[in-house]
Amino acid sequence: MLRRLAALTFTLLLLAPSALATAYPVTVVDDLGREVTLTAAPARIVSMLPSHTESVCAVDACGSLVGVDTYSNYPASVTELPTLGDAFGPNLEAIVALEPDFVLVDEYSGLQVPLEALGIPVYAGSPQTIAETYDFLVTLGTLLDRETEAAVLVGRLQGELAGVASVLAKVHGPTVFVELDPTPYSVGPGSYFHELITAAGAVNIVTAAMGPFPQVDPEYVVLQDPEFILLTDAPFGVTAADVAARPGWGGLTAVMSQRVVEIDQETADILSRSGPRLGEAVRRLADIFHPGTF
């Protein structure tokens, strides 16, 4: 509650005309602890992560994007831009040839090293939680001289999540098992996906002790008997029928009550990208867990 109030105050403060513009040079610290300094609002931005692309566009800087990674596909306009490989297989020459004045990369890509050597400012990081998503959007607003847009966006997202939470406050939260792939890998506390599930009013059967991305013993799923199973591996060909055919899984409540949900590619994108479609992600999940409530 305090946090929400603080954010609201922050938003209102930013809406005051004096706080509208970023005073360059501006310095922020990225996820690797590096200081990132921009001397002017960047006009040629490269994003090497789909969530960064979405965030840049959501704070109304889409026009400054000159290139994106292969997986960036939202908003639709970015598909017109040159694609530059992905975070772990980047086309460095193509990036440099675009003469960017600011590049956003994943913290594990290592891309900041060669780009920094060429004098190109790089932000290396990616939000891993809902709170970090808000923080990142605010930071991005500062860097791109879009502080107002960022503050409004964060306020709107917080409002959307609060709205869902208030509706769900009196509703029973079903248990859920999220399947990232048929190994089965899953998500647990500490992951963005787990926070989305929680925000959408469901209870993850994966516990904190199991870690954020555990490979779960199938026995555990049978014994926990979740009410929902989310197949985020459905775009890769895993079906509800496959799940029903697994040894011992045929009698699961989720299987018997047809609550094994095949997540489509678009939804999978929204759920996996910690960015401005956070509200949409929670609403879609809430629709799955609480059909007819919204």
Binding site: D181, P214, Q215, F236
Partner: protein
């Protein structure tokens, strides 16, 4: 009074078999929940009769029992294949994956996992079938490339195997990099795992592995002779090429079936034969069944650790076999050195 070879064989077999039985009982009882013996017996009775199962009984009958049995069959099969490969190649570094079985299977499985969604034919066949097929194709390719007229020189076989393996491994790595979003699951498969073992897999593997054990056992004298070198063996009246082909064929079939259901589980096929040889000596009539029993027990234990160490989170069993098997083997090796 010294124990005769027949007696000592019976002794080694009986003690290994009872150790395996003990391991089996423990592995079925221990898991994400501890299951009391009467529940296990009840689950087996109901399972065999096809009656409805309570949740805990479902876990025992549909998940844990097939898993334990499959681990035993895979481990036993890999150890058997390891004895054959080391015997035929007369090379202590030979393992069941030497001539491309694993790299071919790995490539096939990863192909299905990464491209299955866009190529429905692959998806409908499933990873195990494609892995098995690729495995056999790889080995045939290696044999074809290594062949000189009707002979199959061992050195050429090893070289062709290593090079073809590198090629397929390169292909696998490429698919892995290209299908990055599924890399975790693919990597877990490559490191081996028995999480979704089914009764049909148990039946399939039993139908391959148990006859193979009998068949290879019938050739244990030939394996002994091969240790004299190919010339020595042929002087003693052994049809060397035919025997080699038959033994490698059977071992490959066992390995490919094991890989197709459980992924690439390293170390069992390399270490268990050595451990058994260090402990009970060379004659293959004794070595083959003991190594198979030890392989079965070892992999059941390794899988138990894999699902139990940080339960209910799993570790790929291939990591456990190396982590546990390596130090144990080194200890065995040192102990033998001390005795000398």
């Amino acid at each position: 009074m010294p124990v005769g070879p027949r007696r000592s064989r019976a002794l080694a077999l009986a003690s290994s078999a009872s150790a395996l039985l003990a391991v089996l009982v423990v592995a079925v009882a221990v898991g994400s929940v501890w299951v009391a013996p009467d529940v296990v017996i009840g689950a087996v009775r109901k399972g065999l009769a096809g009656e409805a199962l309570r949740p805990l009984e479902t876990v025992v009958w549909q998940l844990r029992l097939p898993r334990v049995l499959l681990a035993g069959l895979v481990g036993g099969g890999l150890a058997l294949a390891g004895v054959v490969f080391q015997g035929v190649f007369r090379n202590p570094l030979a393992d069941p994956y030497l001539i491309g079985t694993a790299s071919g299977a790995g490539f096939g499985a990863v192909l299905v996992m990464s491209a299955g969604a866009s190529v429905p034919v692959l998806a409908s066949l499933g990873a195990p079938v494609v892995a098995f097929a690729c495995s056999l194709v790889t080995v045939l390719l290696v044999v074809f490339l290594a062949r000189v007229d009707s002979a199959l020189p061992t050195v050429r076989l090893v070289l062709a195997g290593v090079v073809i393996s590198s090629l397929f491994t390169a292909g696998t790595s490429f698919l892995l990099v290209a299908a990055r979003e599924q890399a975790g699951g693919i990597l877990a498969w490559l490191l081996g795992g028995l999480a979704f073992s089914t009764w049909s897999q148990v039946r399939l593997l039993a139908a391959v592995t148990l006859p193979a054990l009998a068949l290879v056992g019938a050739f244990s004298r030939a394996l002994d002779l091969l240790q004299l070198g190919e010339e020595g063996a042929s002087l003693l009246g052994l049809g060397v090429e035919r025997t080699k082909l038959l033994l490698l064929g059977v071992a490959t079939l066992v390995t490919a079936s094991a890989v197709s259901v459980a992924g690439i589980i390293g170390f069992v096929g390399l270490i268990v034969p050595h451990a058994a040889r260090l402990a009970i000596g060379r004659p293959h009539a004794r070595l083959l069944p003991v190594a198979a029993l030890w392989g079965a027990g070892f992999l059941i234990l390794a899988d138990l650790l894999a699902r139990q160490v940080i339960a209910p989170v799993e570790i790929p069993v291939g990591i456990v076999t190396a982590l546990v098997g390596g130090p144990f083997f080194l200890w065995l090796l040192r102990r033998r050195a001390d005795e000398r």
